[in-house]
Amino acid sequence: MVVNFTLNEEGVAVFHDALACMFKFSDEVCLETKKDKLTLTTLNLSKSAYICFTFAANRFFSRYNFEGNAQYRDRFFCQLHIRSLMSVFRARQGGESGRDSRETTIERCDVAIDDGPGKKSRLVARINCRNGITAEHSLSFEPMAPTHAKFDKTEAVNHWTISSRTLRQLMDHFGPGIDLLDINTDDETRLVNFTCFTEKVQKRSANANEAVLKKPLHTNIAVEMDEFDDVEVEDKLHIIISVKDFRAVLQHAQIISGELATSYSNPGRPMKLSYSSEGILCEYILMTIGQDDAISQKHKNPRVNSVAARAARPELDSASRRGSSVVNASRNDLSQAQELPRVPQLQRKTALRPRHSQFDIRPQPIPQQIMAPPPPATARSDSLFVPQGDDDHQWEPINPDEEDDGGVNDRLEWNSNYEPNPSTLRINSYLNQAGEPPENPTSERLLSGLEPTQRLSEVS
């Protein structure tokens, strides 16, 4: 017996909720036990989300005993299917027909994990129901060490805390079909903005090759900073995360407790969300994306060059560490902090500009640009009038067959607020500023734009 513990009815429910939350991210979970705690960790497939639930031995369990064995002296770990665990730890209903049939009947749940040479590697859970029925489940597991994500606390200078219930109610106001959430703050108005949108495209019609935004709608909810318990965020900083992940976090946070705390640094760097309750600590590290990354992430065409796509999707740093729970690490190994692949060549490199809740006309970069070095801030010139001489290609239907590596679908998105901005017409002035991301405040005035369809070198 390596470790054994007992849960009461409520414990089983909490355990189940935690597993249900994890199931939204991945199919497998890594269970790690030590003398003083039990940890469940998982990573999603694209390695852009890391979840870690820690259960304190003496507070969460009715009984907890870690014995270890020759192989696992201080720390035991294994990997299990979440689905099997969920069915073991589900709530059970019972009661006489006549009494409230929603009365759950678990009296206690004893779990024992056994492993070692000559023994079957099994997690055995015995559930004693109040009515006398006893169920016993024996699950096999794989000996896999958990992967922990790194998060540098000192780097994450932006943070805020708010009641998860409030936040969850907020999310209800966003319609279906959204993918991304942009969180930004405005010091002047003392508001924190939550903007939801999707970059998914669809073909305009069966025959056309043009693509339009599936849902050309940005919804923004502004929350006063007073609603937050603590807000310290760089002004006008935009950070974008996946709505699906965020919702999953909130749904679970609401069950567990009140306060959700987040901390992050810059777009493209990980963001940490956490909340806790009696005996349970829940932590998530989500990858964030910068604005232009958002555009390219949501390619409809699955044939996008997978290498570029993977590189484009920022991944969390991972490290299999022995003996220390990284997320709670008191010492942050700055020297070891890897440089996350800077969101690379798939999109044009631009400095931050505020997300406008309007539509942009902006064809996609054509395939050659995938491998090319990022063009300089010509994207700044979000203009409909890109001087291309007589070959005004951008208005022709784009033929996907012409693309070389059959990767990217060109997209057109419609701007109903069309207004040519004179300052953008002078694109040539930008062409010469190769490699410098101008922090030009005039960027604020760019309300609509078109990003170039051609490489700079091909222009004029």
């Binding site: 299917h81 689905r83 099997s84 069915s87 059970r92 209903q93 019972g94 027909s97 099994r122 004693n128 129901c129 009515n131 006398g132 029925i133 006893t134 169920a135 016993e136 489940h137 024996s138 699950l139 096999s140 209800d172 106001h173 966003f174 319609g175 279906p176």
Partner: protein, 336 residues
């Protein structure tokens, strides 16, 4: 105009009218594991028998109490019974088709609701369009349902009238093959356990998720009394009543132990019956055949019964291979 001397049409062999199709549908659905079902019309009601590969059989009874009117004009058996024992009309019809017809009530409501929901792609999450608990389809009423079978070879006719819409369905009847009932020896029982159907359902729901192929049922005089266990791809599970002896209202085990293994899927087919029944009587005979009889309480119509029989995997220990279907005598299982 000359009146042709058309003979007065003979009264139909069977005719019944029901105001609610829900219990009819539920009882039939619980044996819905085959395509063709054997129908017997008797003075007391209809009897439907479904067979699966001869290792599982389920019988559902539609007691005449379920109908507002029930008339039969069955041919009386001759004094000397030289022909078949049962003069009752018997035929086969398609079970899925019959189940579909019983669902017709309220189908119009569902279509309208779906059409409304499709129009609005921007609907917010706040307004959840939940299915209506009080729709006609859910309740299965608000109209009348007439069943009839005029004569041998005629189709089985179902006429549904609801809100001015009259739907007539004629289901083709097939000549019945001689049904070979799974032999179950009531006089040689090894055990008999009566308990609430929900405990059995819970036990199977406990075991189901591991995806097992075989289910082993063991009844023993001493603890754990009744135990269901299985081994699946993701692990093994077992449920026992060691501490729940009092849940077993009737408990009689003749020998020390009765253990048999069944294909999990066939036991699983009876879960629908477990869901609607209040009590179940489990009996095993010496041959290893398992009988489950479910008692369903239908509001305002008394009790209806569902009978299942399961043939276990053949034992391969020693050198004997027990044939489970060797019994020549067929005896029908009596009711409780």
């Amino acid at each position: 105009m000359a009146s042709s001397a058309s003979p007065v049409p003979a009264p139909p062999l069977f005719r019944a009218v029901a105001s609610s199709t829900r219990p009819l549908y539920q009882l039939l659905k619980s044996i819905g594991f085959t395509n063709k079902v054997h129908v017997d019309i008797t003075d007391n009601g209809l009897r439907f028998m479904a067979d699966h590969a001869r290792v599982m059989q389920g019988v559902a009874h539609w007691n005449k109490n379920l109908f507002t009117s029930y008339t039969t004009n069955l041919p009386q058996p001759e004094e000397e019974d030289e022909e078949d024992e049962s003069a009752t009309p018997t035929f086969q019809i398609s079970l899925p088709a019959l189940l579909e017809t019983l669902q017709i009530f309220g189908a119009v409501d569902a279509a309208t609701r779906q059409a409304k929901a499709d129009i609005d792609p921007y609907r917010s999450n706040l307004r959840n369009y939940r299915p209506d608990a009080f729709s006609n389809q859910t309740l299965g009423m608000s109209g009348t349902c007439s069943l009839s079978h005029s004569q041998e070879g005629a189709p089985f006719s179902i006429v549904l009238e609801e809100a001015g819409v009259k739907t007539t369905c004629n289901l083709i009847t097939y000549i019945a093959e001689e049904p070979e009932l799974i032999p179950f020896d009531v006089n040689d029982l090894s055990f008999k356990i009566i308990t609430q159907a929900r405990w059995l359902l819970d036990a199977l729901a406990e075991i189901g998720p591991t995806g097992p192929e075989k289910l082993t049922i063991a009844a023993s005089r001493k603890a754990p009394y009744l135990k269901l266990s299985s081994v699946g791809a993701l692990g093994s599970s077992s449920v026992d009543f060691a501490k729940g002896r009092d849940l077993l209202e009737t408990f009689a085990v003749r020998d020390a132990r009765w253990v048999q293994s069944f294909k999990f899927d066939i036991i699983k087919s009876a879960m629908e019956a477990m869901r609607i029944a209040s009590k179940v009587s489990m009996r095993g005979d010496r041959q290893g055949v398992l009988s489950m009889q479910f008692m369903v309480e239908v509001e305002g119509a008394g009790l209806s019964f569902l009978d299942f029989r399961f043939v276990p995997y053949a034992e391969r220990d020693d050198d004997e291979e027990e044939e489970e279907e060797d019994d020549g005598d067929e005896r029908e299982g009596e009711e409780l």
